[in-house]
């Protein structure tokens, strides 16, 4: 089993694929998507959201790395697979 964060190689958290910082970035992205969605009256896909966040200079570095990772086709399909397994 992988011991280090998929994005930076730091020791990963027990309950995540990522280190503390990238795990927090992932949570923040998830949490903020709900607010963004509300701001755009529900008309915003996850992909556009991630692309928009990636472009902004105010976005934190760990969030940018996570957004870029989530936008990669292989990571999304891996995550989708994981979601399916959970189901």
């Amino acid at each position: 089993m992988r011991q280090n964060c998929r994005l930076c190689g730091s020791p990963k958290l027990d309950n995540s694929e990522f280190c503390e910082l990238h795990h927090k970035a992932e949570l923040s992205l998830d949490e903020c998507y709900k607010i963004w969605l509300k701001s755009y009256n529900g008309a915003l896909t996850m992909q556009s959201y991630l692309q928009e966040v990636l472009k902004l200079q105010e976005t934190g570095q760990a969030v940018k790395e996570m957004a870029a990772h989530l936008l990669k086709p292989q990571s999304r399909s891996a995550d989708d697979e994981a979601d399916t397994n959970n189901l």
Partner: protein
Amino acid sequence: MKQTLIICEKPDAALRMAEALSESGKASKREKHGAPYYQIDTKDERIIVCSAIGHLYQVDTKGSSERHYYPVWDFAWKPKYQVEKGQRKQELWLRAIAELSRGVDTYISACDYDIEGSLIGYMILEYTCNGAAQIAKRMKFSTLTERELREAYANPMPRLDFPLVNAGMCRHEVDWLYGVNLSRALTESAYKFSQRYSTLSTGRVQGPTLRYVVEREKEIMTFVPLPYWTIEAIIEIDGREIAAGYQVERLETNREAEEVVEKSFGKIGIVEDLELKKYYLTPPTPFDLSTLQAEAYRHFGFPPSSSLRIAERLYLDALVSYPRTSSQKLPPMIGYREILNGLSKTPQYEKHSNALLSAKALRPNEGKKTDPAHPAIYPTGISPKRRLEPREQKVFDLIVKRFMATFGSVATKQSEKVTIKVGDQTFLVHGSRILEKGWIEFYEPFSKLEEIILPSITVGQKAAFKRLSAEKKFTQPPPRYNPGSLLRLMEEENIGTKATRAEILDTLYRRGYIKGERIVATSLAFRITELLLKYCPRVIDVAFTRELEGMMERIESGEETREHVILEAVEHLKPIIEDLKAKETEIGEELTKTIKEMKMADITLRTPCPQCGSKLHVIRSRRSGKRFIGCSGMWKNACRFGLPLPQFGVLTLLEKDCRECGFQLIQVKTKGKRPMISCPKCFQAKRQSMSTSKSA
């Protein structure tokens, strides 16, 4: 003939003291083993004034032990020259004081009246002057003006200020115990794993301070901006265009914003209400050290340690009072009028000093903070006898103007709020004007009040919307600390002392834990904080540091003993160090990895190789010893791309790119010279074109 020996903290202070005490105004300067001293002979007394050069004694391991061994619990005070290499000057200095102390009847410590000064005086009297600390007297003063020094000499305290001495000793001893044991634990762990030395450190105050920076960095790194909209309008009233805003400053959805624009665009509004409000701005409080440091950083960008050094130089020139103070009080005994009279002789301050002098009574707007030893920082009223350096002039000007501003009257401002209605939408126009400048006049240019003057508007007047738009904006991440704000935070959290906080920031920079003026925590800082949090969380626990600070402060007031505080500290530290020792390998492995990564990051360019796209590194040739930029794709892609680099000075890879070619810029710093910023790629191109034209 009776002999008196006065010990000052610094040579400049000794000179001022000697000048003040000699009736003729000229003391005879002499020298012993390279240490200057002054002799004043009166009818029935010989006064010898000598000085220390900062701390001449320091805490070290009792007896002799290996420098890298830990844990160490036994300590002793030793002459600095015995502990550190290359301190020959200090050795001769102590020898000179020892010789001067022979045959002396009265000993006086005239070091700065605070923890450090009291400790410096005590150590010299106790260890260099054969236990004279027990019979020595103490001079107490806040400025080096002749009047105050003579008064302090005529009325010395009968004994040394032992509570301050004990507090000083305790602080040094506790800091040594923490610093030596924790830093050795980190350094040795990394060394045992990698067999390479990298100086790593942490300490009682350093650890929690670094944690603040790291926590802020984490917040910034995981920040997701949120969108919001503002409505920006330009309305026309009486033929004049004015900026107006919507009643709700931030709209959370774009639909709301669009609705506001749709409903009001091209409409005529009516002024429904006009509200005038007067408010008062009280004068600033006098400067304590940290406020001075924060203001000097805000206005001139001076790091806190530089501001302190400059203020100390001004103090030694008797231009300002003692700067290491936490007081915001200016007691009347400092002589307000006398100071202002003195300042009025300088053309720059003449007008404002005279304006204050014409007032019936002078009362400063004092702050809450107090210091039992010194008042707030104030100018002495003496004009500089030498031409001040530009940085000194700036800090002096800031202190003088702040002092005058504290006596100024309240400034009055009037705000105007105009409410404009368009259907059910409300827009607001804000204006402000200064009615009375009060203290602001004395503190310019360090305080400025901006005015927005509106035309005369009456209720019922029409307002046409000329422009109306919804602007999309994003929330901002929390701001990075700068040296001034971090210092303020340390003070608010009561960690460190006014004298040591700036030094701690310097150490964090020096160790490579933080960088930049807008402070960024490096990956090493992250790792050190993580390790300490994992293996010994109490070391970076602000609450414990604060508790220890409180105990040490209570020694000053005699409510706590030095011995008890040290016992508490050792009891707290012992299990932590034992735990660290047991986990040396794990810690060493993690630290080594981070150090390697950091070193690699320091030599890796952001710009990829223009030929093969691999990473570019700063490389030092094993054969010639010369440094250059080389491509990491050399072995894989046989890429031979390379660029020359300057061979001397400290090389830094900058975050900026060249405007001409987009290549990452480098900076080379050579001692005594201005830093040179250049683009290695453009330099190479220029060199090649020059050699081509030469050969042609």
